[in-house]
């Protein structure tokens, strides 16, 4: 059996110590209970504190379990919370881009649309909340695959179907697209899912910098592109929107 990492074992012991019996303990209590030098114990506690697993009481200097630990098992971002937080920003994105806006999260092997804002013209449109989109060909799906490891493995294992002759199905080429997505901070889909339709998307992060969803626009390829290139002002608007929603969820500035 491979050797375990000692400092992790010690950190685990500290968490157990703080979880049982007396809830708040001083540094010397912790060090002596675990048979550690104060300096060693302090180093581990400081690291745990930095991660939010342990908190130090300002007045007494004693340690207790941190809120982050309590959140660990139970937190996931409710998609309806995500929609509520995104509402204002996605409306503004639709207004500034002139295109329809979609907010998607990973669900099973695809992208579940959890919010949809109509294109701001007077045309008849149907609300697409609840619809599924493919992971490997849409901008929303590529963003999720690039940032969320679970989405990534789903996309890699899936049968990447060719919807048009521009769909990227080959694994290496797909991975390269994801690499580009991470490097640029956004993904695009130019007629890879639907003929005549292009889409753009960027990642939404929560306060722990976890990727929780993707937001983007979709519309006629001739509107999203100028001189054969995706319009930079649309890319900027999509990324601004994603950052605004992330900030609203508590993520720091990028």
């Amino acid at each position: 059996m491979a050797r375990n990492i000692q400092s992790l074992e010690r950190a685990a012991a500290m968490l157990r110590l703080l979880a049982g019996g007396e809830r708040r303990l001083g540094l010397s209590d912790i060090a002596s209970s675990l048979g550690l030098a104060k300096g060693t114990a302090h180093g581990i506690l400081r690291t745990l504190q930095h991660e939010g697993f342990v908190e130090q009481d300002d007045a007494s200097g004693r340690y207790q379990l941190g809120a982050e630990l309590l959140r660990l098992g139970t937190t996931y971002l409710d998609v309806h919370e995500l929609r509520a937080r995104a509402l204002v920003w996605t409306d503004d994105l639709a207004r500034s881009s002139g295109e329809s806006v979609y907010l998607g999260v990973l669900h099973q092997q695809g992208v579940l649309i959890v919010h949809h804002v109509f294109r701001p013209d007077d045309s008849r449109q149907v609300l697409e909340i609840g619809a599924m989109q493919p992971l490997h060909s849409t901008a929303l799906g590529k963003v999720l695959s690039a940032y969320d490891p679970v989405a990534h493995s789903e996309a890699v294992e899936a049968d990447r179907k060719a919807f048009t002759d521009r769909t990227v199905c080959d694994l290496d080429a797909f991975e390269h697209l994801l690499y580009l997505t991470r490097a640029r901070g956004y993904a695009a889909d130019v007629e890879e899912t639907w003929e005549g339709v292009a889409s753009l998307a960027a990642p939404i992060h929560d306060r722990r910098r976890m990727p929780v969803g993707a937001v983007g626009i979709a519309g006629a390829v001739e509107r999203l592109r100028r001189d054969g290139e995706l319009r930079p002002e649309l890319i900027a608007a999509v990324r601004d929107c994603a950052r605004a929603v992330s900030r609203d969820l508590g993520a720091g500035r990028f």
């Binding site: 309806h80 919370e81 929609r83 509520a84 409306d91 639709a94 207004r95 881009s97 804002v117 609300l127």
Partner: protein
Amino acid sequence: MTDAHTAGPFIAAIDQGTTSSRCIVFDRDGRIVSVDQKEHEQIFPKPGWVEHDATEIWTNVQEVVAGAIEKAGITRDDIKAIGITNQRETTVLWDRNTGEPVHNAIVWQDTRTDALCRELGRNVGQDRFRRETGLPLASYFAGPKARWLLDNVDGLKERAEAGDILFGTMDTWVIWNLTGGVEGGHHVTDVTNASRTMLMNLHTMQWDERIAESIGVPTAMLPEIRSSAEVYGEIKGGKLGDLLGGIPVASALGDQQAALFGQTCFAEGETKSTYGTGTFMVMNTGDKIINSYSGLLTTVGYKIGDQDTVYALEGSIAVTGSLVQWMRDQMGLISTAAEIETLALSVEDNGGAYFVPAFSGLFAPYWRSDARGVIAGLTRYVTKAHLARAVLEATAWQTREIADAMTKDSGVELTALKVDGGMTSNNLLMQTLSDFLDAPVVRPMVAETTCLGAAYAAGLAVGFWNSTDDLRANWRRAAEWTPRMDAETRDREYKSWLKAVERTMGWLEDEE
């Protein structure tokens, strides 16, 4: 791409609300350029009493206007006009010579005038002034609040008779201060705010001398009634005078009427509903003053300059968003308000459960103060998820009941409902609403319909926009829900809901 809103000119709107004052700067497309907001203190001197410090509010208004202008990075030359929308009915009296309020403002929710209103009803009851004012004698309205102040602040009656005291709802207070205050401030109100005082006659659009005398408010202290969209005066004096002196103050609308305007409900029958802790539904009834026999309020929708007055019917639901908060805070069934949708979506239907949140009685269209909340139809099968459904359905059914009352009173069928407010992010609720109403439910792209309405009215007054058609062209549909429920299911469910409503009545036995 229409992202060119850094180029002016702009319209600013002040929203003097119940919990905060805000200022939003809008561009010609009705897009938000900047926002500033500041909360003010809620003062609770006794149970049921709610007051605001009008001086604090005026200070905050000045700050948020300056703040919004600064955030937008613009100057006085870029602003064509400023408009006002406000919490309705909240009443302040002040000394015209010093500009000092004589007492804290009495807030619309304050119930201290309950007994006074009963006394004023005498043997006629709460509908004594309904034919003239459109309102029942209830503690919300401003006239009786003014009377209470005259009765309870030492020496106030004498000062009022000497002509030293001015009355105002918050629009009046803000406009008087904006336009110079003691240095010649304009003492005016708009028709929508005046229609909530119980002192204005809806037929003449003037103060009703007889009613004012009955309530005990000298008409000398009342502001001049003006339209909702005209130049009342210019910003003058004080800190804002330095920053924005000379800018026309060009609109005033009560908050719900401003939302009606911001939603561009300009045609008879067009209706908006604002979903917050409570819900306010307002229907444009055109030039018709419709007496309600279903417990709705008859009120003024708006009046643009010297055009004809547009009237409205209003129905409010006391408990909507607050029921979701109750599920979160008192029941602990969800941890955020948005989770109600997640929980509700985990089941297909309400499992036979109906939740009537008559927490402080039934309001429109029943008006039964002896009712209390009920969850009906419980069986062992019912889970918390079914109750979450029932919670959302309660909001939708209550909307349906108000809509039915509006149709009954006005004879106009609801063809579509324009919605705004926080709860519009709840997709399941919006779909349910459409299903229960059997009508499309439409959400506009600008969520800030209240401020937008004030900005629109101010912009019309100064010719920034030419007509209501211009404003309609600005309106954008962000989402639309269409009915998916079959008529048979809807009718069956409505019947069950009405049965549950019946079961709330008469719970309190010795209601005074």
